[in-house]
Amino acid sequence: MSKAMDAHRDVSKLLDEYVDGTLDDLRARAVRGHLRGCADCSARVEATTRLVEAAGELPDLDPSSGLWTKIAAGLDEDEARLAAHGRVWWWWQGLGRRFAFVGGALAVAGMAVWLVALRGRVPLGPSLQAMKIPASPQALYEDAVHEVARAQADYQSAVGDLRSIAVGERVHWKPEIQKAFDENLAAIDAAVARQSDLARKNPGDVAVADALADSYRKEIDFLQEAVVRGDLP
């Protein structure tokens, strides 16, 4: 299939929107540029426009001929340039946008974005073939929750390890160090307990899980500092 035919096929998907006037300015100008060189599309647009006009559903939005004459020269050149875009550009304008541009951010972003997508099939690796596929439709969610729980178990393991060292080491610490250790650890424990409670109530909340992990790391840092330095002369 030639590039011209490809472009024609892609542009044709925009023609109804063009007639309806719902295309944004950029694509509308590009379509107009294409119409100058494509008799098929021009005929289709003309027929659609006649139908719409006949139905009387659209007001006449044509500018005055005098105004048009003044700006036509500049627009013609611009539209011809837009119409010359490759197929990817047309594909992007009319078809699949695989990325989510949140909140229409691109419209105000001052950042231009180009995208190319290639899809294909590749063989399944042996390790993936051996993977057990859960039967539940909620498996993905549950797996994610399980992974977070496993991370918390890792942190708890380190905390337990350090606590047990601290129990043996504290006999070597000065009384004021023991006192400071107990007071600080109580405050940290309370913070971790609050975060754990939040995490239990919001099992799928990544931000809450991150905050809990952060609390565990602070507790690990504190305990490690105590066991490594508590008995320093």
Binding site: K3, A112, W114, L118, P137, A139, A158, Q224, V227
Partner: protein, 321 residues
Amino acid sequence: MKLLALLMAALPAAALADTAPPGLDEEGFMVERDNVEIAPAKTVHLGAVDLDNRLGDIVVIGRDQPGVSLAVVKRAPDEATLDRLKVNLVPDPEAGVIKISTALLIGTEARPIAAGQVRVDIKVYAPREVAVQARAWNGKLGVTGMESGATLLAHDGDIVVTNVKGPVTTTSTRGRQSLTGVSGVVSADDTFGDLALEQISGAGLAARVHRGNVTATRVRSQTVSITTTWGDIEFHGELLAGGRYELRSFHGNVIMHGGVAAARIEAWSRDGMVQPEAGLSGLMRARDGRWLGSFGNGDAPAVLLMSSTAGRVIFGLTALP
């Protein structure tokens, strides 16, 4: 907020020439590759890229070009699942930040899918002067060639940083970490993984590992603090005038070889032993068990503090002019 022109440019038509129609059978799974170019307008100062990908690897590569390029590879057992893998791209020109995150939409239909079978790997090419913030989970996290630092967080995944200037902060629970050629303040934290630091220079280096070894070679930082609970610490580097070097472990061995003009030394082990290497004379053992001494001559001696409660402390110094 300024409304800036959104410019689109043509890509080579050949880019889609290899597109294969999606298909699936029991021997294959779907792969989608997306390449995205983000070109900020000239008036937009891009200060940072912020990545959050819990579904795979993140690699950030610095380059001497404006704009950011993304290469995203999604993998899933079928097309429907592939469509559930979403990459959110949020450019914020006012803040000068591009945020990229991934998500796996959970549908309501009963479709059995294992989480391990879906994956999104992201490779980002960004201007060197952009700061990097990235979070991964099991995937690898790599940053190279950046000049405004990086803040990296992973759980199981390894972290690799090479040739980065600026402050670098890394945190991992189970992954290994390797930081090479970093010029700036470094803070590395790991719970169960090994940490390798090579050719680190700058104002400060702080490393902390619970169960894992720390190896620091060719270090030239003004302040160094390395702490482990169970793992060994091995340090090879230059002790700068007026610098402070603190290597401490609870149970691991502390091995230190440094070049220095002048240093004040303090070494201690309660249940292990302190082993100064030959050439270090004048060390004295104080009544509280510390080994104290000095090395070389200079107006601003470096301070070298080493301890291991239950391990060995082995150290040697060579004179630098």
